[in-house]
């Protein structure tokens, strides 16, 4: 194969080889590197860190309070986490529109007594509110990422903007705004990104009905119904 070498060819990094150790192979029970990152963030934010979770050798979740949301970004950037991955949100409300036709909503319509509403269970690093901001940054030198979470109270869905710290957060915050109905203080261009300007509702909220699914029952339900007399877990892979 011919390869022309241009005048300003970039440097070539080292070869990857079979003995390159990956993070997964080590998988220690206690992940010292991530513990250290968590400790440093805690040191920088003090009381701001309200929850954390470490999956050893894999990932780190840190939950900060709303006042420290922007400070968390600044701290992470100062620590070398300069690559911005994404910013989004999670609505922890159990969906009133289940995948089945016996969901909460349908029972209300058909007059069937309501089921006991499922409890709202937040994921890693805990949480108290329905809406949680979710953002991830990455350090190329350390080869690790941090997933930040932040509780937003239902009555005031605002947070500070990350776009002054990570410029790429601009669009992600616009998306989070229209999809969840948040607002971000200090954002330079808080207009809809995807949805038309006159769109009503916030599609990614769990209580926003997916109309197509309401009109036509879930076609896939046929595939996953257990065969008569076969317990769920018995099936084997092909």
């Amino acid at each position: 194969m011919r390869t022309k070498i241009w005048p300003s060819v970039g440097r070539v990094s080292q070869l990857s080889s079979a003995d390159t150790e990956t993070l997964e192979e080590a998988a220690p029970a206690i992940d010292e590197a991530r513990e250290a990152v968590l400790a440093e963030i805690t040191a920088r934010l003090g009381e701001g860190v309200v929850g954390s979770h470490i999956r050893p050798g894999d990932d780190l979740w840190i939950r900060v309070d709303r006042a420290n949301w922007v400070a968390a970004a600044e701290a992470a950037k100062a620590m070398g986490y300069r690559f911005f991955d994404f910013l989004s949100a999670i609505d922890w409300l159990p969906s009133p529109f289940g995948r089945d036709m016996d969901s909460q909503e349908d029972r209300v319509v058909s007059g069937t007594p309501a089921k006991e509403p499922e409890a709202m269970v937040q994921g890693y690093a805990g949480g108290e509110t329905r809406f949680q901001l979710l953002a991830r940054v990455y350090s190329i030198s350390a080869g690790m990422g941090i997933t930040f979470k932040c509780d937003l109270p239902d009555d005031d869905l605002t947070a500070g903007t990350w776009s002054n710290v990570y410029a790429g957060a601009n669009w992600h915050e616009r998306e989070a705004r229209e999809m969840f109905g948040f607002s971000f203080d200090g954002h330079p261009n808080m207009i809809n990104l995807y949805l038309p300007a006159d769109f009503v509702g916030h599609p990614l909220r769990k209580d926003f009905p997916l109309l197509a699914r309401r009109v036509r029952p879930w076609p896939g339900i046929v595939d996953v119904e257990p065969m008569p007399g076969v317990a769920d877990e018995e099936g084997e892979g092909e």
Binding site: D58, F83, R136, L193, P203, V224
Partner: protein, 391 residues
């Protein structure tokens, strides 16, 4: 991580200069040019509202959403295997590569690992979809700069890869071949030999394209020094893949943070970077990436282990409770899925981190002060797929 090299700091300074110039009082009356949603250079329905001063772009603001399909919402009502068919359509030129990170995330939550043979085939198909994707980019970029022959050559030689993908998976564009715990099927007979042939054709295509397009003086005049993105800007906008490496950042998820389930460490290959950060650098890095991908495929084809292609997984897949983020180095850049599971048939929430969304969000920064033809170079070299922006 390299230091910011010279053209990059020049670009940063130039951006400041443009800021100052745009704010001048004696600015003549500009013209607002609405490019798209139907425009030949946006290959899809991206709309760019550009304010022009003559032919110079004062500001360019992409407007997306003309193709938004609400995948993040749809994933909440579909089972994991169904989602697999859905997310094929995100980056439709490298479909198989879309499936892999999602399947890997599900496997991570379930604690399942695919058998070695499946991992090998996964990696091979992953790289093949990279080749199918990027080879089309190389031709299409030439097309956008007016050299139409390159585009036809790309379509011609991409067939070799698509044929291989088709004969292995049954689908040219949307394989839907990856499964939690392995693959749908084993490879057909004779596939390894024909894949070797296809990779040789592709390597020859890369050489041909280098002669025809990348080495062309006009091409270089149109791309060198145009749309320079400094490394620091690229990082903070979350640019990934070749766009980031072209800014001199030596980072490739395949090498640096390869999730288990892909076997990139079993092949000998290089990660190419370019210090300039301009349109030429992005094209050049992608050209080299195509070659490396072909080399990876050829090496893995020779070392493919025998054995089953599917692990023992339940027939009805319920993913245990948990959260996982798995990202892979897709043709367009880092593609990741943040999967939140509640132990149900369907995921509770899937955040799709697609590469083009971040890659294209840098356009307002980089397009300021460029000329209209440069805007085409920039858009072309950043290389977006509309489905990957809008999801």
């Amino acid at each position: 991580m390299t230091a910011i090299s010279d053209p990059q700091s020049v670009a940063a300074l130039a951006a400041e200069a443009v800021d100052n110039r745009v704010n001048l009082d004696f600015e003549t009356e500009g013209m607002t040019l609405n490019m798209g949603p139907q425009h030949p250079a946006t290959h899809g329905t991206l709309r760019i509202i550009a304010r022009l001063d003559g032919e110079q772009v004062i500001s360019a603001e992409p407007m997306c959403g003309y193709m938004h399909r609400g995948y993040e919402k749809l994933t909440e009502v579909r089972t994991y295997p169904q989602i697999n068919a859905l997310i094929n359509r995100i980056d439709w030129l490298g479909s198989f590569a879309n499936e892999v990170p999602f399947i890997l995330a599900a496997e991570k939550l379930m604690g399942v690992e695919a058998p070695p043979r499946a991992q090998w085939i996964r990696t091979i198909l992953f790289e093949m979809s990279r080749i199918a994707n990027i080879s089309l980019f190389l031709g299409d970029f030439g097309l956008q700069l007016g050299g139409m022959t390159a585009g036809f050559y790309a379509f011609r030689d991409r067939e070799w890869v698509l044929n291989q993908i088709e004969s292995a998976t049954g689908g040219r564009f949307h394989p839907n071949f990856d499964r939690i715990g392995g693959l749908k099927d084993d490879l057909p007979k004779g596939w390894i030999e024909s894949s070797h042939t296809a990779m040789d054709k592709l390597l020859a295509f890369c050489d041909e394209l280098e002669d025809l397009l990348v080495g062309n003086e006009i091409f270089q005049a149109r791309t060198r020094g145009i749309g320079v993105i400094p490394a620091e800007i690229a990082l903070s906008y979350g640019l990934s893949g070749a766009n980031l490496r072209a800014s001199g950042v030596d980072w490739d998820l395949r090498r640096d943070n390869c999730p288990p389930g892909l076997v990139y460490d079993k092949a000998d290959w290089k990660v190419w970077t370019h210090p300039d950060g301009d349109c030429f650098a992005r094209t050049w890095v992608r050209l080299q990436e195509t070659r490396e991908a072909a080399k990876i495929v050829k090496q893995l084809l020779d070392t493919i282990p025998s054995g089953p292609v599917m692990a023992k997984v339940p027939r009805i897949i319920k993913v245990p409770e948990g959260e996982a983020y798995v990202a892979t180095e897709n043709p367009l850049g880092e593609m990741g899925y943040y999967v939140v599971s509640k132990g149900d048939l369907v995921p509770f929430r899937v955040k799709i981190r697609s590469a083009s969304f971040n890659n294209i969000s840098v356009v307002p920064w980089v397009a300021r002060g460029a000329y209209v033809p440069d805007l085409i170079s920039i858009l072309g070299s950043l290389y977006f797929i509309l489905g990957d922006i809008d999801r």
